[in-house]
């Protein structure tokens, strides 16, 4: 799996899914339309500022609240490469994997990160490196099947690949 490297955007604790994608914008599940409002109620200018491959760094309980899968979809569609947080809310965690957004829990990296730092992530080895500070932190590596789901772009594409594979062999 490719290495992720990007500029970071820092958020605090308890960033809820209403802040990530407010319900008033849930008139669509089209990713590029959701991306226009990504993180809007936490930082109204985020969608304009964020660049492809950037990384979100946040405190504890990221993604709490509503089960809306539109939240990780909005982040992924905004071309954010990865979310690193002290901890994630349960439903968001599963949703992110299911739609193919890499996420990592790494409290130590979060504590020392400042907006604008450059951070690199190695998902397979579970390593987070703050390039600016020249520090490397250990996170929990993704098991292979989760890497495969993320690599496929999410659970649906993963299953689809499996079904097509099966029909070729069947």
């Amino acid at each position: 799996m490719r290495q992720l490297k990007g500029k970071i955007w820092v958020f605090g604790d308890d960033i809820d899914t209403d802040a990530i994608i407010p319900a008033r914008h849930l008139n669509t599940s089209v990713p590029r339309e959701l991306a226009l409002h990504c993180m809007e109620d936490a930082d109204p200018t985020f969608a304009e500022k964020v660049g492809e491959g950037d990384i979100i760094v946040a405190g504890s309980n990221f993604g709490c609240g509503s089960s809306r899968e539109h939240a990780p979809i909005a982040i992924k569609a905004a071309k954010v490469a990865c979310v690193i947080a002290e901890s994630f809310a349960r439903i968001f965690y599963r949703n992110a994997i299911n739609i193919g957004l890499p996420i990592l829990e790494c409290p130590e990296a979060v504590r020392e990160a400042k907006e604008g730092h450059e951070v690199a992530v190695d998902l397979a080895r579970g390593l987070v490196s703050n390039v600016t500070l020249q520090r490397t932190y250990n996170a929990v590596a993704f098991p292979e099947f989760m890497q495969a789901i993320i690599g496929a772009g999410g659970l649906i594409d993963f299953v689809k690949e499996g079904l097509e594979e099966g029909s070729r062999h069947g």
């Binding site: 089960s67 809306r68 599963r94 949703n95 689809k160």
Partner: protein, 423 residues
């Protein structure tokens, strides 16, 4: 070694003993989506050409979040849901029937069932000893299609609630107090299991309020053992056959046990912008409000409307305040009409909306203006939740909401109730 209620339900459903920490594949007894999450679930299934559901009679697509629809994009999503239900034979709960979690309690929730829903408050049915939990659209889509899903069996936190609630204090105050203690992530990945003598005597309407808000502390489920109250509720719903006794073993292993004596608990509110930002009503008395919303899967039941009607009878909503009341289901609405609560509330100046989620999620009905303040009986006060990030939301019990609607400022309901008792 004994089993927690979470372990017991999952053990029974997978057919062998499972313990906290294990990953299991469990059958899905009931699967649900709502109109915010359902269209995405349907599109995910369409993407892999899997337009079928394993158990059509126990798969329900609810239309409650934007019902009736305020815009054509959402109307088109509703059409998509209706077409999918028609094609697959699954159930559709259309505009006006009510909030999914209330309807699950009325029609599908039962001890020992595994219920997954693409809505975080699916945990409400834990009050009926169902392993009911919220997931995302893709997870629920796969559960609908395959009739099974995977879970990590959660560790349980036992919450022993004892003592008699004082007048004017309710389950809503208990759960807000607990969330204040636990924090918004204090029970992440865990099961909350509510026990103790205060639960034994608690009516089902209030138990549902407790379980409903378990997710606001991050919990996967909020469980209550089944007992005579559960049995009576299921009988009332014409489903006595769905009852079975189910409780944790005496020697169950909990990750921790919390004790709460509620006999001196005060009304509790959550202040903007997080649910764990809790305060006693006395800290907030006098805070001006522009709107009151009474309803939702947390507090839109008949018993809630009875409390509100009792407080508002003969009074009038304060000038400049909107008081929006939304019965949680058609059953609740009809019963409230028959009992005269609706007439009382309309005469007192309240606005009654069709059963559904109403203002709670901020897509229609009751969106706030910049700087405005709403006092809600619902479960979330996140910034922007009522459709405007420049607004402020407090959460409290129906009694706090009703008393405050009359005065236009946050008011201690015990003043009104004690006054009424002395009349």
């Amino acid at each position: 070694m004994g089993l927690t209620l979470a372990e017991k339900i999952l053990s029974q459903r997978v057919g062998h003993t499972v313990k906290a920490g294990q990953i299991v594949i469990a059958p899905v007894d009931v699967a649900l989506t709502q109109d915010g999450t359902g269209p995405l679930a349907v599109r995910q299934l369409q993407k892999i050409g899997l337009e079928k559901v394993a158990n059509p009679d126990n798969t329900i697509l609810y239309i409650d979040h934007a019902a009736p629809s305020p815009r054509r994009e959402l109307s088109n999503d509703h059409v998509l849901l209706r077409e999918f239900a028609h094609k697959t034979g699954c159930r559709l709960s259309d505009v006006g029937a009510g909030v999914c979690h209330q309807l699950i309690a009325e029609n599908y929730g039962a001890p020992g069932r595994v219920i997954i829903g693409a809505d975080s408050h699916t945990c409400t049915a834990g009050a009926l000893a169902a392993f009911a939990t919220g997931m995302g659209s893709t997870d629920v889509a796969m559960g609908m299609a395959l009739g099974k899903t995977w879970f990590r069996v959660p560790e349980s936190i036992q919450v022993r609630i004892t003592g008699k609630l004082p007048v004017g204090v309710y389950a809503k105050d208990i759960i807000l107090y607990l969330i204040g203690m636990l924090g918004a992530d204090g029970a992440t990945y865990k099961a909350l299991e509510f026990t103790g003598d205060a639960i034994a005597t608690m009516p089902m309407a209030e138990r549902l309020t407790l379980s409903n808000m378990a997710v606001e502390a991050g919990a996967k489920v909020g469980l209550i053992a089944s007992d005579t109250v559960t049995k009576a509720y299921l009988e009332e719903q014409g489903r006595s056959g769905d009852y079975k006794p189910l409780s944790a073993d005496e020697d169950a292993q909990y990750q921790k046990t919390m004790e709460l004596d509620v006999s001196s608990l005060e009304p509790i509110l959550a202040a903007p912008h997080t649910v764990d930002n809790t305060h006693t009503v006395s800290d907030l008395v006098g805070t001006p409000i522009d709107q009151v919303f009474i309803g939702s899967c947390t507090n839109g039941r008949l018993e809630d409307l009875a409390i509100v009607a009792d407080i508002m009878k003969g009074g009038h909503v304060a000038p400049g305040v909107r008081c929006i009341v939304v019965p949680a289901s058609r059953q609740v609405f009809v019963a409230a009409l028959q009992k005269g609560y609706i007439e009382t509330l309309v005469e007192a100046g309240a606005i009654i909306l069709a059963p559904g989620c109403g203002p709670c999620v901020g897509v229609h009905e009751g969106i706030l203006g910049d700087g405005e303040v709403s006092l809600n009986t619902s479960n979330r006060n996140f910034q922007g939740r009522l459709g405007n990030p420049q607004a402020f939301i407090y959460l409290g019990s129906p009694a706090v909401a009703a008393a405050s609607a009359l005065t236009g400022v946050i008011t201690d309901p015990r003043e009104v109730l004690n006054h009424a008792a002395g009349r």
